[in-house]
Amino acid sequence: MSAATETALGLTESKGIGPRVAKLVIYSGLFIVFAGPLLALLVSSFNHISDPTQLSVVPKTPTLDNFRIAFDHGVLKYLLNSFFVVGFGLLLQVAVSVLAGYALARKVFPLMTVVLVAILATMMLPEEILALPLTLVLGDLPLLHVNLMGTLAGMIVPLGAWAFSILVMTEFMKDVPRELEEAARIDGAGELRIFAQIILPLCKPALGVIGVFGFTMIWDQYLLPLLVATNSDSYTLPLALRTLRIDPVVTPGVVMAASLLALLPSVIVFLLFQRSFARGLTAGALKG
């Protein structure tokens, strides 16, 4: 018995035909419960489905019609809107987070605790709670008097600063040795150069974490686009799913095809960056 592979249940060590069959049943059950519905979605999007009772995991009449009809209903435009929002949103979010993280991790300044508390406090103020006043603020930005309602920018800027990303960046940047920074300073490097060429390149793992989490967070947004979009031109793909479903001539197969397009980007990002995901989950949850 090796201590390294010991688990709480000790399942991996079990031998013999009985436990093996039990394990097979359990794991296939798990797979069916969690991946099964998504497989049904995948298969249905390539099937002729005229009513919801025909949703199944068995491919019967393979077709691309669902996607064709979905595109006829503007799904491509909504998809591009989504990509626009996630692209610029993520760019803004990452930039804001690394800048703020640098100040919080590498500097000591008065009121630093106040700033940290304020950033933590924003975690208690998600879009849901702020929904109503947020529409008013976005309709007429204080001081600037810009109306962002109905624009994609209105779905992007409120997500620009995210406490989670800032805190992950801060924690990570704290661990970069002082000596590197000092050496660069002695060599005459300025503040920006130290930030961009010394600290930032060493933070690639953290950039991976805030990148994948930011991506899924922005891609999953529903309420904010719902508040901001004043007509279907500025819909993101998740919003468009509901309009498609309500449309009486659109079949469930088409809704599933559009759903597949809406889930693929975040699933692909997850599969490509699983390690960043695992790292971020523990950073976000276990460090508070």
Binding site: T7, A8, F34, V96, L134, D187, R242, V267, A285
Partner: protein
């Protein structure tokens, strides 16, 4: 390589021209401990440098978090009338919403849904974590497959489950429960089962997330304790009760707060699956606020509801944090 900016304040006077590399290094190395505060402050250079780096975050937070929160507080004490000017009504909005039957029932539904989703996800997530803990490739495949629902957008989850919940006997889930002789159930179309159905969808998406956090917690448990327990002749059940569960206590506390707060704010799944129906059986605080504020334009009353929701999540978070402090102290 040219350096345009002068070095900010170092232990040495700034060289007029770029010195030979390494010329100044050796002397600085000697300067004591890494994180002496006085030293760090000197290194920071001008006082406004950190604020410049913080500015984008602080501006965005002010605009989209703090100003809206202030607005919500103000509006909750006002009768909001676009173009006519708002009038102060004191606590009237609060007393109106607290005494309204629909808010009370929405509050009850929200609490039931939050509790159901929180404990359902944690229980299932814990069992899943125990089952898929391990190093083999098969297990990591199962883990990834089980985690997929977490990264699927909630809107997709809701549309998918909406179809799976089709109320006739040939709906997908009705066929599944038909295999064991149950149903057909109306699921989200039946006031008796609608809230539970939404909770099941939430658990399906929440449990794998909890599973991953539990797995991280399990990885932190000292393997030697398992070995010792086995040597002492402890059964699997005793091992889980006396080694695993105590080791995971902080994880439970964190997951509880995260999931409960998430449950209080449930909006998308309810909005898309039932939008509060049938017959108000799944109306939660968030869908009610949405309807009050954006469909009926009653911003004052809606804001009062949002402030109450905020207070509820605040109290919950603070209580759990205090409990945790006391236990660890």
């Amino acid at each position: 390589m040219s350096v345009r900016e002068a070095p900010v304040a170092t232990a040495e006077p700034p060289p007029a021209e770029q010195p030979g590399r390494g010329q100044w290094r050796s002397r600085v190395r000697r300067t004591g401990s890494r994180r002496a505060p006085g030293r760090a402050a000197r290194q920071g250079g001008k006082w406004w440098v950190p604020w410049l780096f913080l500015a984008p975050a602080l501006i965005l937070f002010t605009y989209f978090k703090f100003i809206p929160m202030g607005r919500a507080l103000v509006m909750s004490a006002q009768d909001v009338r676009p173009y006519l000017g708002n009038t102060w009504v004191g606590t009237a909005n609060y007393s109106e919403i607290l005494s309204s039957e629909s808010f009370r029932s929405a509050l009850k539904n929200t609490v039931v849904l939050a509790i159901g989703q929180t404990f359902g996800s944690m229980l299932l997530g814990f069992c899943l974590a125990l089952l898929v803990e391990g190093q083999t490739r098969k297990l990591s495949f199962i883990r990834s497959a089980a985690f997929l629902p977490v990264v699927v957008p909630m809107a997709v989850v809701a549309e998918l489950w909406r179809i799976m919940y089709h109320p006739t006997s040939d709906g997908l889930l009705n066929q599944v429960i038909g295999l064991v002789g149950l149903g057909p159930s109306g699921f989200i179309n039946d006031p008796d089962t609608s809230l539970a159905s939404i909770a099941v969808t939430g658990i399906w998406r929440g449990a794998p997330y909890d599973m991953m956090i539990f797995l991280a917690g399990l990885a932190g448990i000292d393997r030697g304790l398992y070995e010792a327990a086995t040597v002492d002749g402890a059964s699997t059940r005793q091992r889980i009760l006396h080694v695993t569960l105590p080791g995971l206590r902080p994880v439970f506390a964190i997951l509880f707060v995260l999931a409960a707060v998430r449950g209080f704010r449930s909006f998308t799944e309810v909005f898309l699956l039932t939008n509060g129906g049938p017959n108000g059986s799944t109306e939660v605080v968030m869908t009610l606020i949405y309807k009050l504020g954006l469909e009926q334009n009653r911003l004052g009353v809606g804001s009062a509801g949002a402030v109450l929701l905020f207070l509820a999540t605040l109290v919950l978070t603070v209580c759990v944090q205090l409990l945790r402090r006391r236990r660890t102290a």
